[in-house]
Symmetry: C2
Subunit: 410 residues, 2 copies
């Protein structure tokens, strides 16, 4: 249906903007590279016959009218900013896929009831200010002037200052907010960034929700001792306690079938090969697309960890570093994606998004859903990030039929 | 029996030699401080009426003749060198306790069949050259000229060079070796360096053997992945594998009732809070006084670890960093210590020595045994190292009756 060659060519061409010596792309928000990428996308929107505009947050839109201009629009898109030395697909696939869908409709003279807009959101990644989803927050009316003043880049430049340099007025960012009921649905095409679809042998999949992470830091205080002179029964070994808790985390997260629990950081003291570690700190990243499930897993982990430490005579402290609400995808959009998958003979495999996306911000504004495209070895945020031309086209075709379905087309 | 006040005074006085601003003592081998400590001990030996000499390795001896000069001597002692900023008890208690025993015999006119010698061994700790038990190795005929040339201190000074500066001829170190059959038994009084006796509420205890450590380094290679986007079932998490192995180590060591297994070092990569660790390395210090038990525990740990890693799709490598044979204490000496404990109303509680001692080197030369004295909080190698005057006296009394028993006295 859609033109897979054109989509692929645009993905490659856009990837040249901000290309690094190390092989990846760096397009930080409110920089010349992001500007150039948006300009390039705007030119593709022109080619697709869309009316192009930018809002007060720098979000770039291409709009195609429907039969009824008063109906809320169907929104598709993603972002064109990147992490440092990132890949060609994370973001651009959703933006260029959206343009491709609308250009295909234009070329085939397909009409829809609802207007359709494709959007390139400003700064999803958060690489510059350690505060991402700026454009989608603004669209959802969730961005405050405090946020714009508070977060700064490595050079001490605030988001507000960067916006001014870019030609935007941070005082007017509220104008980017869309009123409730003005968006019928949001659909995003994105690479999976995991290995589920590769494992299932499927080019694309149906996202059930965007997981919300809880980040905790455990601090265990046991008793340092001589590794030779302290019998096992007299120990208060904080690493042994941590091991038991880490196994518990794995078991509790696995038991749900949907949650993921990861210990990515661990440090211990004093660190001598013949000294029982008295002090251990480790992190926990716990996610689920269902907040209730996630909170129950967290509760069980904490309850059992307290018991483990009590039994071992080890003091435990837990600090919360971050707590974001998960965003379930809407039935409306998931159903449309499922039908679109089946139309292409793709078994509609449902999977959660563990990584965050702009859709998280929009979940309160409108029905939201995502289509994932198979990602080689699950690698992302790297020059190694890769999805095949065929899979990108397959995902874009699923997007086409999903959007047509939601916009009342055909 | 023995003079606890005199023993305590000498412990305190000796502790002034090499006293640091940080509060501890530093007496490294072949330094002015070790020389001064040996000279001080020699003066106490004089007071005790012993004949004093030093051997080719710098070991200091005080000898009291028995009724039969041809009989092998009973050897008691320890060392007077220390770690950097160490305590007053680790080493000196055994040397000064030995002198106290012989001085008490002298004062009471007690005769023994066997001659008795008290020894202050050269460099037990290994703090200067990272190669300890120099004097006891020499006595056991286990010190080579390669050893003396190979090991160097921080300033690049070899043991051989340090010996020459000290007035010893490294070429003649072999002369320090005692012939087989020339020592009836070796007994050492030492602080426990653990919490067993404190826990048992006993001033002294009966050592069953000196554990031999095996030091291993595990290297686990799993798969790095996004903490949100990788379902639990598709992970090859090397830290989760390490946790399971660490729990296994604890369980297998505990199951024996005698072995101790400690993971004192652990590092992981890449170390992001939201990244599954692909690579983990950790150490294992495994000890038992019975080599067969230790080797079986090691075998079970390795077999099960291989299975854990196979099941998880994680590659495991294991490197051996050190492997020392344990030294069981002899029945002869343990029986004598047990009888001596009972004479003082001390329940003869048997416990292993997890830390290494000079007796390890002598185990091949003669029957060997040790008496432990209760150590506050198990702390050693620190200015906080502490045993009470009463416990030191109690341990010394046990030593007195043990030595009298072994030397055929009374």
């Amino acid at each position: 249906m859609i033109d897979g060659e054109r989509l692929w060519r645009r993905l490659s061409d856009l990837g040249e903007i901000g290309r690094q010596r190390e092989g990846g792309v760096t397009r930080l928000s409110f920089t010349d590279e992001e500007r150039a990428a948006k300009d390039r996308v705007a030119s593709y929107m022109d080619e697709a016959g869309l009316s192009v505009r930018e809002d007060a947050a720098g979000n770039l839109f291409g709009r195609r009218e429907g039969r009824n201009a008063d109906l809320p629009s169907v929104l598709v898109g993603s972002h064109v900013d990147s992490v440092y030395n990132g890949g060609d697909f994370d973001g651009p696939l959703g933006v260029l896929g959206g343009v491709e869908v609308l250009q295909t409709m234009q070329e085939r003279g397909v009409e829809t009831d609802h207007p359709i807009e494709v959007v390139a959101f400003t700064d999803e990644e958060g690489a510059r200010f350690s505060f991402g989803m700026i454009g989608s927050r603004a669209l959802a009316g969730r961005l405050t002037s405090e946020d714009l003043a508070k977060y700064e880049d490595r050079d001490g430049v605030s988001i507000a200052e960067a916006m001014r340099t870019y030609g935007l007025d941070p005082e007017r960012v509220g104008e980017a907010a869309r009123p409730e009921g003005s968006v019928k649905a949001y659909v995003e095409l994105h690479i999976e960034q995991g290995r589920v679809l590769e494992n299932e042998g499927l080019p694309a999949g149906l996202v059930t929700g965007i997981a919300g992470p809880v980040w905790l830091r455990f601090s265990l205080e046991g008793e340092t001792g001589h590794a030779g002179a302290t019998p096992m029964s007299l120990r208060h070994d904080s690493l042994a306690a941590a091991s038991e808790i880490m196994s518990l985390i794995e078991a509790e997260a696995s038991a749900t079938g949907t949650s993921v629990g990861t210990v990515g950081q661990l440090s211990l003291e004093p660190g001598g090969i013949n000294i029982i570690p008295g002090h251990v700190e480790f992190s926990l990243d716990l996610r689920d697309i269902d907040q209730g499930v996630r909170d129950r897993v967290e509760g069980r982990i904490l309850d059992e960890a307290v018991e483990i430490c009590r039994r071992r005579g080890v003091e435990m402290g837990v600090e919360t570093l971050q707590r974001l609400a998960p965003a379930p995808c809407s039935e409306l959009v998931m159903d449309a994606i499922g039908r679109a998958c089946e139309r292409f003979g793709i078994r509609p495999h449902a999977l959660p998004s563990g990584a965050g996306h702009d859709g998280m911000q929009l979940a309160g504004l409108c029905p939201m859903g995502m289509i994932f495209v198979r990602s080689r070895a699950g690698v992302s945020h790297s020059p190694e990030e890769w999805s095949t031309k065929k899979d990108c086209a397959a995902g874009c075709n699923v997007l086409y039929w999903t959007v047509l379905d939601l916009a009342g087309g055909g």
